[in-house]
C-alpha cells in the first residue's frame, strides 16, 4: 500500500471517548463495546476465516444430505467415531448449529458494519471535496513546478482538466487552489456488494426451507407414469418448512427413451446421449410433449424435472406351485458398472405353498469369448443376447419384520433352491424355467427400461442468482473504481508562479504517482511559455 490514507477509518472511529476504568462499565456500555467489537473489520476478517475453516470437514467426512449411502457405509465402518461425529453434527456440517452460528455472526457483523457506512455515504454524497491541505508537497505523491503563467490561468486550466476527467470540484472558499475528488461509486459498489450477500442468503434460505428434492424411478412406456404426489416418490428430501400443499399439480409419462452410444474411440460403448420423450400435463391443462435430456430439464410451474439416470427393467413373471401368478411386472434392476450389468430382486412372499425370492443379475449383452461369458458395453439391439441369471430362495422372506429395501432379499429365514447343474438359473428373453420340487416357475418375458428422475422445487433461486449478480456488479465497482483526491495550488513567488499538485488514492491500489505526473504534463503541455 503506498498511501497511509488518513481517510480510511473503517476500523477506528474518530473521536473516541477516553477510556474509563473497567469498573465503571455499565451494561449499556458493555453492550456497545461488544457491538463495536463485533462490527470491527478485524472481527469480520476472523469470522470469514472461521467460515472457511468450518466448511472444511464437510468436504472430508461424507455428508448425509449429499450422499446418504456413503454416509451410512462410513458410519458402519467407524463405530467409535460415529456417535461423537454425530453429536458434533459432522455428518451435516452445513446444517449444524455451530456452522450457522458463524455465518449468522458474520451477517450481524456485516449489517452492523455496512448500515452505518450507508448513512455516512449518504451524507458524504452531498458533501464537498475537502479543503486543500496546507502543505501539498508533504503528501506521498506530489509534484511542483514553476511557470510564467499567472496563478489564475493555471487554476482555471486545472479546473477544466479535472472536470473533464469527471472529478467533482470544491466550490466555495478555495482561494488559490483547486480541490477535486472522484470515484464516489466505489463505496456504493462496496455497499451493494455486502448488502447483496444478504439477498443471496435470503434466496438460498428460501430454497432450503420451503423447497424439496425428490427422486423417482419411472418405467418407460405410456402405460406407466408419475403423478406429483408425495407417495409417488422413492426418496424425498423436503426443507424444514415444506408443506405438501406446495407440490405443483402435474403428471407425466415417458413414452420412449433413446440412448445413443459411442461406437468408436477409447470410450466406445459409453453412452453419448440420452433422450426421454415425455408427455406431461400441467394441472388440468392440455397434454404437451417434451424431450428430456441431460442438462435440459423440464420445468412445470416452479418445479423442475431432471433426467439423471437410466437402466433396465426385465419383465419377470413368477408362478407359484399351484400355477397362479405370484409376481409379474417390470422389475427395476440397478446398474453395477458402465456396461449396465445390473442387480435386482424379486419377492413373491405370498406364493403357495411357499414364498419365492430371487436375487438376480441382468447381463444386457452377453457373448462367449474363449468359452467365458463376457458382457459387452453398448447398444443391446433386440435383446437376444440378454441373460437373466438368478439364485432362488423359498420360505419366509421376513417381510413382516419391518420395512425392507426393494433391492435386498432377506434370506435369514429362507432356504436356497439350486438348479440341477449348479446354483444359478439362466434365462434368455421368452424363456421359462421350472423351479425344483414343484415350487413354481420363473419367466423372463421381455426387457423394458426405466429412468431415474430428480424432481425439485427451489423457491428463491432467482433471488439468489440476482443477488450474486448484483454482488458481482458491486464488487467490480468496489475494486476498480479508484476514489481519488487531487489538489492543485498556485502561488506567486519571485521566480514566477509555483504550482503544486498532489493526489491521494483512498483505495490504496492505485498508482497516484502516475496521476500526478499525468496532470502535471497536461497542465504544462498546454502552457506556451513554459520556463522550467
Amino acid at each position: 500500500m503506498t498511501t497511509t490514507a488518513p481517510t480510511r477509518t473503517s476500523d477506528e472511529k474518530p473521536g473516541k471517548q477516553p477510556r474509563r476504568p473497567v469498573s465503571e462499565l455499565n451494561a449499556r456500555e458493555l453492550l456497545r463495546w461488544c457491538w463495536r467489537q463485533l462490527t470491527s473489520m478485524r472481527t469480520a476478517l476472523v469470522l470469514l476465516l472461521l467460515l472457511a475453516l468450518a466448511a472444511v470437514p464437510g468436504s472430508l467426512i461424507p455428508q448425509e444430505n449429499v450422499d446418504s449411502l456413503k454416509t451410512s457405509n462410513w458410519q458402519k465402518a467407524h463405530e467409535t467415531l460415529t456417535p461423537i461425529y454425530a453429536k458434533l453434527g459432522l455428518f451435516d456440517v452445513y446444517g449444524a448449529p455451530w456452522f450457522a452460528a458463524i455465518y449468522i455472526l458474520l451477517m450481524l457483523s456485516l449489517v452492523g458494519c455496512i448500515l452505518p457506512r450507508l448513512f455516512v455515504y449518504w451524507r458524504g454524497l452531498r458533501a464537498q471535496p475537502p479543503a486543500t491541505p496546507m502543505r501539498l508537497t508533504r503528501l506521498p505523491d506530489s509534484a511542483s513546478y514553476v511557470t510564467g503563467e499567472s496563478a489564475d490561468e493555471v487554476l482555471t486550466r486545472a479546473r477544466g482538466l479535472l472536470r473533464k476527467r469527471r472529478y467533482r470540484l470544491r466550490k466555495e472558499g478555495e482561494g488559490a487552489s483547486v480541490s477535486a475528488e472522484r470515484g464516489y461509486l466505489r463505496e456504493a459498489g462496496n455497499l451493494v456488494f455486502h448488502l447483496s450477500i444478504l439477498i443471496v442468503l435470503v434466496g438460498f434460505a428460501m430454497g432450503s426451507l420451503f423447497g424439496y428434492k425428490g427422486g423417482v424411478i419411472v418405467n418407460v412406456g405410456s402405460q406407466y407414469g408419475f403423478t406429483n404426489q408425495m407417495t409417488q416418490y422413492d426418496d424425498f428430501d423436503p426443507g424444514s418448512l415444506f408443506t405438501a400443499s406446495s407440490l405443483d399439480d402435474f403428471d407425466f409419462s415417458i413414452d420412449k427413451f433413446d440412448v445413443s452410444w459411442l461406437d468408436s474411440g477409447p470410450r466406445a460403448g459409453m453412452a453419448k446421449g440420452f433422450q426421454s420423450h415425455l408427455t406431461y400435463r400441467d394441472g388440468d391443462g392440455p397434454e404437451k410433449t417434451y424431450d428430456l435430456r441431460v442438462n435440459h430439464p423440464l420445468s412445470i410451474g416452479g418445479t423442475e424435472v431432471f433426467l439423471i439416470g437410466h437402466g433396465y427393467a426385465p419383465v419377470i413373471t413368477v408362478r407359484d406351485g399351484q400355477g397362479n401368478v405370484a409376481y409379474s411386472g417390470p422389475t427395476v434392476f440397478l446398474p453395477q458398472d458402465s456396461s449396465f450389468v445390473s442387480f435386482g430382486v424379486v419377492k413373491a412372499q405370498y406364493a403357495k405353498p411357499e414364498g419365492i425370492g430371487l436375487n438376480a443379475m441382468f447381463y444386457p449383452y452377453e457373448v462367449t469369448v474363449h468359452g467365458d461369458p463376457v458382457n459387452l458395453t453398448g447398444d443391446i439391439g433386440d435383446g437376444k443376447h440378454a441373460v437373466l441369471s438368478f439364485q432362488a430362495w423359498k420360505g419366509d422372506l421376513n417381510q413382516s419384520a419391518g420395512p425392507q429395501s426393494v433391492y435386498q432379499l432377506d434370506t435369514s429365514k429362507a432356504t436356497q433352491v439350486t438348479a440341477p447343474g449348479g446354483k444359478a438359473f439362466n434365462l434368455h428373453v421368452g424363456q421359462t424355467v421350472k423351479l425344483p420340487n414343484g415350487l413354481g416357475s420363473v419367466t423372463f418375458d421381455k426387457i423394458e427400461r426405466w429412468n431415474k428422475l430428480q424432481i425439485s422445487k427451489q423457491p428463491g433461486k432467482r433471488i439468489a442468482l440476482g443477488g450474486v449478480c448484483l454482488a458481482l456488479l458491486g464488487l467490480l465497482g468496489s475494486l476498480f473504481i479508484r476514489p481519488r483526491r487531487v489538489w492543485v495550488r498556485a502561488r506567486d513567488t519571485e521566480d514566477g508562479t509555483l504550482v503544486e499538485v498532489a493526489a491521494l488514492d483512498r483505495s490504496g491500489g492505485g498508482d497516484t504517482a502516475a496521476v500526478v505526473e499525468g496532470l502535471v504534463a497536461s497542465l504544462r503541455g498546454q502552457s506556451p511559455e513554459d520556463r522550467s
Binding site: 446418504s68 508533504r138 442468482l465 502535471v520
Partner: protein, 349 residues
C-alpha cells in the same frame, strides 16, 4: 487433417512447448546466476536515472524492477563499467528467456487447439484432468506474457516458467488420457463459460500468489543483493499482488457463484449441492475475500495479507488436484459417466 492427426499434433506441440519452456528456464537461470553477488549498489546507482517530474519529496519512489537494462541509465558511473558487461548479459538472457517463453506459449496454444479438434465432435479442451492441466498452465503462462510489461514482471520469470513446466510435466506423465468425447453432463455452454472463467481466475491467483510469496521472502531476507535486490520493493510487490488478485476475485466469483451453480442446476437439479469441489471453491472464495479484507484492516496489511493470499492459493490448487484423492463423492469426477450408475437409490417400499 483427421482427428488422429490433430491428436498427434497436440502431443507433439506439448512436447515442443515443454522443451522450449525448459530452454526459457535455463536462460533465466543463467540470468539469475549472473546476478548472484551483484551488489545492490548497482541497482541503486541506476535508479536516479529515471526522471521524475519535479522534485518530489517523500517515499513514493518504487525501486522499479525494470530489466536493469543499460539503456535506462543515463550514463552509469565509471566505477561500475566492469559491472556493465555483466548486466548486459543479464539483460540479454532475460530477454531471450522471455522470447522463448512466448514461443513456448504459442506451442502450448497449438497443443490446446489440437486437443479440441481431435475430439469428435470438436469441443473445448477440458474433458479430463490432463486437458485441464494443459489449459490451466497455458493460462498462467499467457497471463504472465501479457502482463509482463504492464506490471514489470521480469523478476518473476524463473518462478513462473518453472511452475508451468513442472505442472505441465506432471500432467503429461501422470494425467495423460487419450482424446475422448465429453460425457453428456459436461456438454453445456454454461460449463464452457464456467471453466474458462475458473481457469482465468486460477491463472491470475497463481501469478498473484507468486508475487505474495516473493513479498514474504523479501520481507524476511536481510541481504538485499542478487535476486532479492532485483525484485521490486515490498510496496510494489504488495500492489502488484493486490491488483492481480483484484482481477482474479470477481472472475472467480463469476465462475464459482454464478456460472457454476447455473450449470449445476441444469445438470444435477440443484444449484448448490455442497459437493466437495463446490465446498472448496467456496472456501477459496472466502479466503480471498479475507485477503481483500486484510488489506483494508489495520495490522493485517502486508505480511499477513500475503500469507492469506498463499493460503487461498493452497486451497485453490488443493481443490484442483488434491480433493479427488480425499473424497469420492465429488460429482465433478471427469472419468465416470454422470448418468448410468445409480448407487444412491435406497428405496424403502
Amino acid at each position: 487433417m483427421t482427428d488422429h492427426d490433430w491428436g498427434t499434433l497436440s502431443n507433439q506441440a506439448v512436447a515442443a512447448a515443454g522443451i522450449v519452456y525448459f530452454l526459457a528456464l535455463l536462460s533465466h537461470l543463467v540470468e539469475w546466476s549472473a546476478l548472484v553477488g551483484r551488489k545492490q549498489a548497482v541497482a541503486v546507482a541506476k535508479e536516479p536515472a529515471r526522471t521524475r517530474v519535479g522534485a518530489s519529496a517523500g517515499g513514493g519512489t518504487d525501486t522499479l524492477a525494470g530489466r536493469g537494462a543499460p539503456t535506462d541509465a543515463a550514463g552509469p558511473a565509471p566505477a561500475y563499467v566492469a559491472e556493465d558487461a555483466r548486466s548486459e548479459r543479464v539483460a540479454l538472457f532475460g530477454r531471450l528467456g522471455y522470447l522463448l517463453t512466448i514461443i513456448a506459449v504459442a506451442c502450448h496454444l497449438v497443443a490446446l487447439v489440437g486437443r479440441g479438434m481431435a475430439a469428435d465432435p470438436n469441443r473445448v479442451p477440458w474433458g479430463n484432468m490432463y486437458e485441464f492441466t494443459l489449459s490451466g498452465t497455458c493460462i498462467v503462462a499467457m497471463f504472465y506474457v501479457v502482463l509482463y510489461r504492464k506490471f514489470k514482471l521480469a523478476w518473476m520469470a524463473p518462478v513462473v516458467v518453472a511452475f508451468v513446466l513442472v505442472v505441465l510435466m506432471v500432467g503429461v506423465l501422470w494425467l495423460y488420457e487419450p482424446v475422448a468425447p465429453l460425457t453428456e453432463a459436461l456438454n453445456s455452454y454454461w460449463l464452457v463459460i464456467h471453466v474458462i472463467s475458473a481457469a482465468l481466475a486460477t491463472g491470475a491467483f497463481t501469478l498473484g500468489g507468486i508475487a505474495s510469496a516473493v513479498y514474504l521472502i523479501k520481507a524476511r531476507s536481510t541481504k538485499q543483493t542478487g535476486w532479492i535486490g532485483r525484485v521490486p520493493s515490498l510496496d510494489t510487490l504488495d500492489r502488484v499482488s493486490y491488483r492481480i488478485h483484484a482481477f482474479g476475485f470477481p472472475v472467480w466469483t463469476f465462475a464459482v457463484l454464478i456460472t457454476g451453480p447455473i450449470w449445476a442446476h441444469q445438470a444435477w437439479s440443484s444449484y448448490w449441492n455442497w459437493d466437495p469441489k463446490e465446498v472448496w471453491a467456496f472456501i477459496t472464495w472466502v479466503v480471498y475475500a479475507g485477503y481483500l479484507h486484510a488489506r483494508a484492516t489495520a495490522g493485517w496489511k502486508g505480511r499477513k495479507a500475503a500469507i492469506l493470499a498463499l493460503v487461498g492459493l493452497a486451497t485453490l490448487w488443493f481443490n484442483f488436484i488434491g480433493i479427488n484423492y480425499f473424497s469420492t463423492t465429488s460429482q465433478h469426477s471427469y472419468a465416470s459417466p454422470a448418468v448410468s450408475t445409480i448407487d444412491r437409490v435406497e428405496v424403502l417400499r
